[in-house]
């Protein structure tokens, strides 16, 4: 008859989990805000150059991406190892960028058009000739704001 043993048959009260969904929803919304949909499957592989003086890309919604690099290992047999340009989901030649820019920019609301930026994600072994061609096309298309995408140097 100890006085501490009086609740021998009592069960542990269940924890109230009614706020758990709210918690998870909060995390969910957080992730939806800070991330963006992965928009393309990459067909080129590239290792971005490293730099120290980088700026963050201001508005991802007004940005088009151009990928340049060697075809991925799976596609190497078919397309060889020459550096290729990728727009959306397929390989393209430099002149096709003109239409790509025009249609991408056309979809933006009028107020966002001045902020339209093209981000060049380029492998650091790519010869400049390709990039020069791309830049000439971009100038012709009046897509004058570009970003050389890069990784921050780890020190």
């Amino acid at each position: 008859m100890s006085r501490f043993n009086k609740g021998a048959g009592r069960e542990m009260p269940e924890m109230n989990t009614s706020s758990l969904p709210d918690l998870i929803f909060t995390i969910l919304f957080f992730f939806m805000m800070v991330t963006t949909m992965r928009e393309v499957t990459l067909k080129v592989k590239f290792e971005k150059p490293v730099g120290t003086q980088l700026e963050k890309l201001a508005r991802k919604s007004c940005t088009s991406f151009i990928y340049i690099g060697q075809p991925t290992d799976a596609l190497k047999g078919q397309f060889g190892t020459a550096h290729r340009i990728q727009l959306n989901d397929k390989y393209a030649e430099a002149p096709e960028i003109y239409d790509y820019v025009m249609s991408d920019r056309g979809e933006l609301p009028e107020a966002d058009k001045p902020f339209y930026t093209v981000s060049l994600k380029v492998d650091h072994h790519t010869p400049m000739g390709i990039i020069t061609d791309v830049k000439q096309v971009l100038r012709k298309a009046y897509a004058l704001k570009i970003v050389y995408s890069a990784n921050k140097k780890q020190d």
């Binding site: 992965r38 991802k60 000739g129 830049k135 970003v147």
Partner: protein, 197 residues
């Protein structure tokens, strides 16, 4: 009859599972990578009548950086390495000793610094020329070094004038600093050297 029955509470214990699934779905389909890079503005496409009369820039106002297809660097007339680019650029932009082979210093009144007159190399241009075979990585490293040269000069001036680094200044103060050290990196018209490649 007509006795009000209490509505039983909806069982919500699976809501957590549902939202977990949504969460995991979003984790898988989205990418977190924040895109960073060097922002550049390309020049407008050349008008037809402009082609013939290229803008003349005095020779002392240009710093030519050339990179050949084997990734060797030529700054001005000297062979050079990537490590030198920043120092050369800083020396060129600032021209502290008013040397005759570096860009002209011109007095400029700057409102943001209380109307102080600064000697500014207003017309300097840094031009980076590459071959078609140059590695993009080298070109990028040069661009990065140039930007860091500008940033260091701006930081120095900002500390002198305001006591803080450039990035901590207000917009107006930053603008004043930018007037002293405007960023002028030219995206040169491409040239073809040495036959086909």
């Amino acid at each position: 009859m007509g006795k009000k029955r209490k509505m039983p509470g909806l069982n919500t214990s699976s809501t957590a599972d549902i939202s977990f699934m949504l969460l995991i779905f979003f984790l898988v389909t989205t990418s977190m990578d924040t895109d960073q890079g060097l922002a550049r503005t390309l020049p407008k496409p050349p008008e037809d009548d402009q082609l013939n009369n290229e803008i003349k820039v005095k020779e002392r106002n240009i710093l030519n950086i050339r990179i050949n297809k084997d990734n060797y660097l030529l700054i001005g007339d000297d062979y050079s390495t990537l490590a030198d680019v920043k120092e050369r650029a800083k020396e060129f932009i600032k021209n502290a000793d008013n040397k005759p082979n570096l860009p002209e210093l011109k007095p400029k009144k700057i409102k943001g610094l209380g109307g102080k007159t600064m000697m500014v190399t207003e017309n300097h241009v840094i031009s980076v020329q590459t071959d078609r075979g140059t590695d993009y990585g080298v070109y990028f490293a040069v661009q990065d070094a140039l930007v860091s040269a500008y940033n260091e000069l701006r930081d120095e001036l900002a500390k002198e004038e305001f006591g803080y680094k450039y990035e901590f200044l207000t917009n107006d103060q930053q603008k004043a600093i930018r007037e002293v050290y405007p960023q002028k990196i030219s995206e040169a018209e491409p040239k073809k050297y040495g036959g086909q490649k």
